[in-house]
């Protein structure tokens, strides 16, 4: 499992709707606060790249020092962003795909307003389990 992995779901209107630190170890203190800043900054690249490819998994789109940002864009333009230090591309892809399925299940919930914060604890538990499995 990756030592650092910060996962975030950004809705189509640029708002983070789910965020989780899924790394196995506590990262160095001074770097911890950077995670969200780096992910937010990487949205600039995603918005350019997302329209140049039909693939959902955009792979590594940004690097900050030894941290890499991988992105997966759903058809509804919701972005799954993962900040990680591992190089396991296949694992990350599988992680994204399975989270996508979970996300679709959330969307199917008639009480869920698309674009609003995901507060389901079930979703959270599942995402963390997937992170342990694939990252």
């Amino acid at each position: 499992m990756a030592t650092t992995a910060c996962f975030i779901i950004v809705s189509r209107n640029e708002i983070p709707i789910y965020e989780a630190e899924v790394g196995s170890a506590a990262k160095r203190e001074d770097a911890a606060q950077l995670h969200q800043f780096i992910l937010h900054a990487a949205l600039d690249i995603v918005q350019d790249l997302a329209w140049t490819t039909s693939a959902m998994f955009l792979k590594a789109i940004d690097r900050f020092n030894d941290l890499v940002v991988s992105v997966y864009v759903t058809a509804g333009h919701t972005r799954f962003m993962l900040l990680h230090d591992s190089r396991n591309d296949d694992g990350i892809k599988s992680f994204f795909q399975e989270v996508h399925e979970l996300y679709i299940k959330i969307l199917l919930n008639p009480l869920y307003l698309p674009g609003s914060r995901i507060t389901s604890s079930h979703f959270d538990t599942k995402v963390r389990a997937l992170a342990r499995k694939y990252l």
Binding site: I15, P16, Q33, I38, H40, A41, D44, K59, R117, D124
Partner: protein, 830 residues
């Protein structure tokens, strides 16, 4: 490229030394510099200088120039670039003692230095062929190396200069080819066992190849040298470990610089970026000893900075970059890695690392060695990346190798001399501007945040605040609450330090009303080292809330700030906040005003609901609310029955009392009252002013429930949504304004006929119009005259229009009586 020292330049410039005839040096130097490829000249006006061994002279001069430059520890073996020696002689030179020639030749020949003898003549015919031959023999040079120089005639002078230039260029090529070949043979034979000597040879061959503009060979040998230097790390034991690593890194840096430059100038940007990544990857883990860790971060920072500058000056256009990135099938490189801004940003990041490591190292060394004067005599050695102690022994200076402890002390003392913070700010500013040009606003915001944090650390709060404000608006707009919290925390501290009470309260309230809740199972981010606000949690929101309200209510007295200054709110310094439709403080207090009816009759009471909503984490008690309309006579005040009436706001308006004016988090406080207006037209609620405590008011623009925007940050939060009015239908339709109708007109019309008249008689009919009730400013009066033809009941409709011809009616005048209007009409009947 210009700002780098001479020895870093690509391609290097040939060096020629001029000796004697100082009056022509300037002329020749200018000419040699202007031709392509240019040639540098080192002018030695005095022939006696030649008595010293030539190369040493040059080396000393080069060292003097270099020691002024910033990159002084990158001294490369350039002394050997001295290729030609050019002696000015006239006929007098024959008088030189042959011993002088010999000693000079002895200094020159082993180094394969080329010699050109220039004979300054007034007339070519002056010098005979015999004399040339004699001169050539004595100087032991080829015939092409004896050049005549005629300064008297313009065209001759130009020819002479051209001749000189071409001879030098030709000799330079020969010299560097010979030298390069000589050393390359050594490298290829692998006759050298010492790896450091091997690196030196590779470097030399590459530099000589650069002189010849043979880029492929130069690149190959630089790369060879680079790879070998990487291998040396584990093997070399020549120097103590710390200094060894410093030396290897310095050499790697120089080689990397050369390689990157060659790649970028060749337009191979992708290769250059890949190379840079490999370079960083192979050295990033070589941190070295803990006490000199800062040297590593400084080195890393410099790598990024230099590469950024190289990338910026290279001519690759942005269009080709995007095609480059897209062209890469597996996209190993990210788009940003082709832009200098990325490297500037990381350079600043590593410089920050360096600063913190240096502070640590400094504090450690301070406790160990209180004072140390020995560092003064330490200087960069003649060898690249090495340092030595200069010892004076009589007139001579000798260099002594340092121990690692001495070097560490020296490095820490050196490190302290630089103001890293300013450097970091400058780098971030460059990066920020560069991202702005790329239209990467979010990247720019990140840089802006880091820059502002640096200003904050420096104590430059006005600059910090300016940058933080820009960043905060970006995060506010996109709803990144955690980041906004962080930025607002800094802003709050800035205003506290500046003593800006309004800003302090505004930022505090905004923070307290942010949708941050740590009660959820998803633990957001572990902020071990966060801004002054601390991690975003509900409990901190409550603390900030209490602090802000303690300040405004005057309970807490004041919030202390530095310099014995304090911000406080009292009768002399009241605080009045305005919240409009776009203010970030809407979440703090949102006022919605709904008229229950859209059109109202004047003087008739209708219902109005004033609803207030707050997302502050704790309940807020309001002392009184003033509801203001565009018709000021309708304004009214709602007073909290538990609080004493505050006289200031109660200037003759209607006062309503309510048992409680407590605003609970995310729950509408609905207040419904009757209202009536006497004046027709639009009646609109403008604002609702909430007074909390004697010196604090918040003026909130009234909003219509039907067209009210959601709270931007709370829109997608998981919260209970309720309507501002009790009746949901009203919430969708009602407005903050209503139309007051015109009152129904009430008029008395009196016709006073004096009695029957004769046919053909002219008579007056006074008509009196009098209003009963309100004033009437306009109206229409229509009088129908009917010929009844002999009496009886009849309808006016039955009259024929022609029958009216026999009447003549004339308005005699309009008279106003006692403020009332009267219009007597004269009527003449024919």
């Amino acid at each position: 490229m210009e700002e780098y020292p001479e020895e870093w330049r690509t391609p290097p410039v040939t060096l020629v030394s001029l000796v004697g005839w100082a009056e022509y040096h300037h002329l020749i130097s200018t000419h040699l510099l202007s031709i392509q490829p240019p040639t540098n000249t080192l002018a030695l006006p005095d022939l006696s200088k030649l008595l010293h061994p030539f190369s040493q002279e040059i080396r000393l001069i080069i060292r003097r120039v270099r020691s002024k430059s910033r990159w002084r520890n990158t001294e490369a073996g350039l002394a050997n670039q001295t290729s030609h020696q050019n002696s000015f002689c006239r006929r007098r030179c024959f008088q030189f003692q042959s011993g002088l020639w010999r000693s000079r030749s002895a200094a020159i020949r082993p180094r394969n230095v080329k010699l050109v003898v220039v004979v300054v003549v007034n007339d070519v015919d002056d010098v005979t062929e015999d004399r040339f031959i004699a001169l050539r023999k004595r100087a032991e040079v080829d015939s092409k190396c004896v050049v005549t120089f005629n300064p008297n005639n313009d065209s001759e002078l130009q020819n002479s200069l051209k001749r000189l230039g071409s001879v030098f260029a030709e000799l330079a090529i020969t010299y560097y080819r010979d030298e390069g070949r000589r050393i390359r043979t050594r490298v290829e034979k692998k006759s050298v066992n010492a790896i450091d000597l091997h690196i030196r040879y590779c470097f030399k061959v590459a530099v000589y190849a650069e002189f010849r503009r043979d880029w492929t060979e130069a690149l190959r040998f630089y790369e060879d040298a680079y790879h070998m230097s990487r291998e040396m790390i584990g093997t070399s034991t020549r120097l103590p470990p710390i200094q060894r690593l410093v030396e290897i890194k310095t050499i790697a840096e120089l080689l990397h610089f050369k390689i990157s430059t060659l790649l970028l100038h060749g337009g191979k940007i992708k290769e250059a970026v890949t190379w840079f990544r490999q370079h960083i990857a192979s050295y990033r883990k070589l941190v070295g000893a803990p006490e000199v860790r800062f040297l590593h971060w400084e080195w890393m920072s410099r790598q990024y900075l230099v590469f950024a500058e190289l990338l910026e000056t290279s001519s690759v256009s942005t269009q080709s970059i995007s095609s480059l990135v897209l062209g890469t099938a597996d996209r190993l490189l990210t788009q940003l890695e082709f832009h200098p801004s990325y490297y500037y940003q990381l350079s600043a990041h590593f410089l920050k690392e360096k600063r913190s490591s240096l502070e640590l190292a400094h504090s450690m060394s301070e406790s160990a060695h209180e004072t140390d004067s020995s560092v003064d005599s330490i200087a960069p050695s003649v060898y690249v990346g090495q340092f030595a102690r200069l010892l004076e022994q009589g007139d001579a200076l000798t260099m002594q190798v340092l121990t690692d402890e001495e070097y560490t002390r020296y490095a820490i003392a050196e490190g302290k001399r630089f103001q890293d913070t300013y450097e970091i700010v400058a780098l971030l500013k460059k990066s920020c501007e560069s991202y702005g040009n790329l239209k990467a606003q979010r990247m720019g915001s990140f840089c802006g945040f880091q820059m502002a944090a640096e200003y904050f650390a420096l104590g430059d709060f006005s600059n910090a605040k300016q940058h933080f404000d820009g960043v905060a608006s970006q995060y506010r707009q996109e709803g990144w609450v955690t980041l906004l919290w962080e930025v607002l925390g800094f802003l709050r501290e800035c205003s506290r330090k500046q003593g800006a009470v309004r800003d302090f309260v505004e930022y505090s309230l905004e923070m307290a009303a942010l949708p941050v809740s740590s009660g959820t199972e998803t633990q957001p981010f572990r902020f071990k080292e966060c801004g002054p606000a601390g991690p975003p949690t509900l409990s901190l929101r409550e603390i900030i809330h209490k602090e802000a309200f303690g300040l405004v209510s005057g309970d807490a007295g004041s919030v202390s700030v530095e310099d014995n200054n304090s911000i406080k709110i009292n009768a002399d310094n009241p605080l009045h906040l305005e919240i409009d439709l776009v203010s970030p403080l809407r979440a703090v207090l949102l006022a919605s005003v709904a008229f229950h009816e859209q059109t109202i009759k004047p003087g008739i009471s209708t219902l109005i609901t004033v609803s207030l909503l707050s997302q502050l984490p704790m309940a807020v008690e309001i002392d009184q609310l003033e509801v203001q309309f565009n018709q000021s006579e309708c304004n009214f005040v709602i007073v909290n029955a538990h609080r004493p009436l505050l006289a200031a706001m109660n200037d003759g308006h209607r006062v309503e009392r309510t048992p409680s004016l407590t605003l609970v988090t995310n729950k509408w406080l609905r207040l419904t009252y009757g209202i009536k207006s006497e004046q027709s037209g639009k009646l609109e609620c403008v604002s609702v002013i909430a007074k909390m405590g004697p010196n604090f008011t918040i003026c909130c623009r009234a909003e219509s429930p039907a067209s009210m925007d959601d709270l931007p940050l709370w829109k997608f939060e998981d919260r209970m949504e309720t309507f501002p009015t009790k009746d949901p239908a009203l919430a969708f339709t009602s407005q903050k304004a209503a139309h007051v109708e015109e009152p129904d007109p009430q008029v008395d019309v009196t016709l006073c006929a004096s009695g029957p008249a004769l046919v053909g008689e002219s008579f007056m009919v006074p008509v009196t119009v009098a209003s009963r009730g309100h004033n009437i400013y306009s109206g229409e009066l229509k009088i129908n005259l009917v010929d009844v033809r002999g009496g009886g009941l009849f309808s006016p409709r039955e009259t024929e229009p022609s029958s009216m011809d026999s009447h003549h009616v004339e308005l005699l005048g309009v008279v106003e009586q006692e403020g009332e209007e009267e219009s007597p009409i004269g009527s003449r009947q024919n």
